[in-house]
Symmetry: C2
Subunit: 354 residues, 2 copies
């Protein structure tokens, strides 16, 4: 026995059907089976049929980990979003999937919980899967994350923001410009004392950009008027938080004539609370949102908001990835910047003042 060098017990534990077993069943070489799957037109019709029959008979499911290892392609795109349950990003993911799935790419989704540290950790884990591309939300990352992305040597798309210096490419819009445009609109309507309400302590960088736009707008268009900002704190982005912010404004800032919410979610909770408590919108108080969710069009009064094409962000990101992958799969150095823009939605929740 000691001379039986090299004989070891098989390590296969799952005992799933392999390519070799299909080959044996069909009476061809493993390589032919591989070809029958990946490049059927290069195999004779006769063998092709035989192999396909054997695949069905054996219930063969290709091991993509092995395929990945051998070919250096995973047909996988890593997607990092703040949270799965945040519907705006779900739309982006849906858009991504709709563009990439037809090309055989699957999405590997990781969440960051709006934390750059968490993003780095998740990114590290996802890169272990050797994705053919990466999609991130945001343009701010830890230095380590930046290094990881650079070392990965695959196309990277940052999104939901714009920057002149993306890691590779970026698909998004300017949160600052969008909020500024909305601000200028309500200023033109004649509002005298706008306040901002939202969540700014949760690590959402994009919300901070919107806040900056509000602050700068106040200084520029309302010199002398105090800048009032209410933060929901740890409450998160929810209808409850919107309701609470509304109540807080009513009790603490009675002179406010307009509440600009950092998200349609807050604005919806606030609008419904106004209805319930009998506060006339826009008569007593104006309300604006941000995001352009479906519910805004249904609210009574309809919500004035800034619509963001969240699904299109995903679709464009998918196209950029496909393009880059086709071009060699590497980051080329020439940054690609796609601005999907924003659209002012004039609702009934704001009105011409006098």
């Amino acid at each position: 026995m000691s001379s039986e060098a090299g004989r070891r017990a098989s390590r296969r534990s799952t005992r799933s059907v392999t390519l070799a077993e299909v080959a044996e069943h069909a009476g061809v070489s493993p390589q032919t089976v591989s070809r029958a799957i990946r490049t059927p037109d290069v195999v004779s019709e006769d063998t092709l049929e035989r192999v396909q029959a054997s695949i069905r008979a054996t219930g063969y499911v290709p091991n993509l980990a092995a395929s990945n290892l051998a070919s250096n392609r995973s047909n996988t795109i890593a997607v990092l979003i703040p949270a799965v349950s945040a519907s705006v990003f779900a739309d982006t993911v849906q858009g991504l999937d709709s563009v990439l799935a037809p090309h055989g790419y699957h999405l590997f989704i990781g969440t960051t919980e709006y934390s750059l540290q968490q993003e780095e950790a998740t990114l590290r884990a996802l890169l272990g899967r050797r994705p053919d591309g990466v999609v991130l939300v945001g343009t701010e990352h830890t230095p380590e994350a930046q290094a990881l992305l650079a070392a990965a040597r695959v196309p990277v798309v940052e999104s939901w923001e714009l920057t002149q210096h993306p890691v590779d490419s970026v698909v998004g819009f300017s949160n600052y410009a969008a909020m500024s445009a909305l601000f200028e609109h309500v200023h033109a309507l004649g509002y005298r004392c706008p306040v901002l309400a939202g969540q700014f302590a949760g690590g959402d960088v994009r919300a901070l950009r919107r806040r900056a736009a509000f602050e700068d707008g106040m200084r520029r268009l309302y010199p002398g008027v105090p800048v009032r900002i209410l933060d929901s704190g740890a409450a998160g982005v929810s209808l409850d938080a919107g309701r609470d912010l509304f109540r807080q404004v009513r009790s603490e800032l009675p002179r406010a004539d307009l509440i600009m919410f950092a998200s349609d979610v807050f604005a919806t909770g606030a609008t419904l609370e106004a209805v319930r408590s009998g506060v006339a919108i826009p008569g007593e108080l104006g309300i604006t949102g941000f995001g352009g969710f479906e519910v805004g069009r249904h609210l009574v009064p309809q919500l004035t908001t800034m619509a963001i094409p969240s699904r299109r962000i995903g679709e464009e990101a998918g196209r950029v990835l496909l393009e880059r992958i086709a071009a060699g799969g590497r980051q080329t150095g020439e940054a690609r910047i796609v601005d999907v823009g924003h659209t002012l939605v004039l609702g009934e929740s704001t009105v011409w003042q006098r």
Copy 2:
């Protein structure tokens, strides 16, 4: 040259750092590096530090495809949901992730578009990744999908429904029982002519169960009263569809005194349309939903609905998976059935009749 047998160009194309390179850098064997990562406590403190330094210095990111291949474990759970953007399932995914992530499992998400054929195709693709577990929405699958699941020999959790004969285990509730309970409640309130509205042509099996509960309820508690059901058809589950269904009921079924919607989404669109068009709810017409979404509590009037613990479904599914994986990772044969139940939410959109 011809005698230089076996010399070939390297096939490595991505040239990412490998375990061997870290080993060389640290002056140890590859196996020691592997151990330093996977079982640090079995490595001497001295070497451990050296290896960790080398990992940082080289920017090493483990190739999980290789790890997967060698160890037969992917630390991956495949999740199949009807759609990413359907918020109920997003909550389930979030719940799953919250339980599984701490144990090192990542989710691979695939969508089925409410189609069993699509489910089978997506399942096939995901199984190629050799997940350590599978979570599905629904208990109905194609025969081929059933075979695939059986052959995969990993824990499988079906969800959002109940069955006495799951593939492996099931976490959910009875859509029939939930809808029946809601129906009995409104019957007890004294409604005389309830109608059902929703989407039943889209392939959503769970919606069909709710419809069956409505039909049976009508036959049982309203003998002689015609069974009225409105289908939004291809419109999908949206606020727009809810608004349109509401209008349709008003114009086509003027004698209806209660609309039972198959989803809170429809009910929300309908309630807001009622507010806009000046129809008194519950005065002129009662409304119920299904799902127990946050928005229902904020609507004016608050929505009467049947709440489903969608996040808890994910959490329980995660626990079942962990348990099964710990127990050997295979389907054991003893089905595990977890009923998360349902909760009647009494809102203001229905009221005692007379």
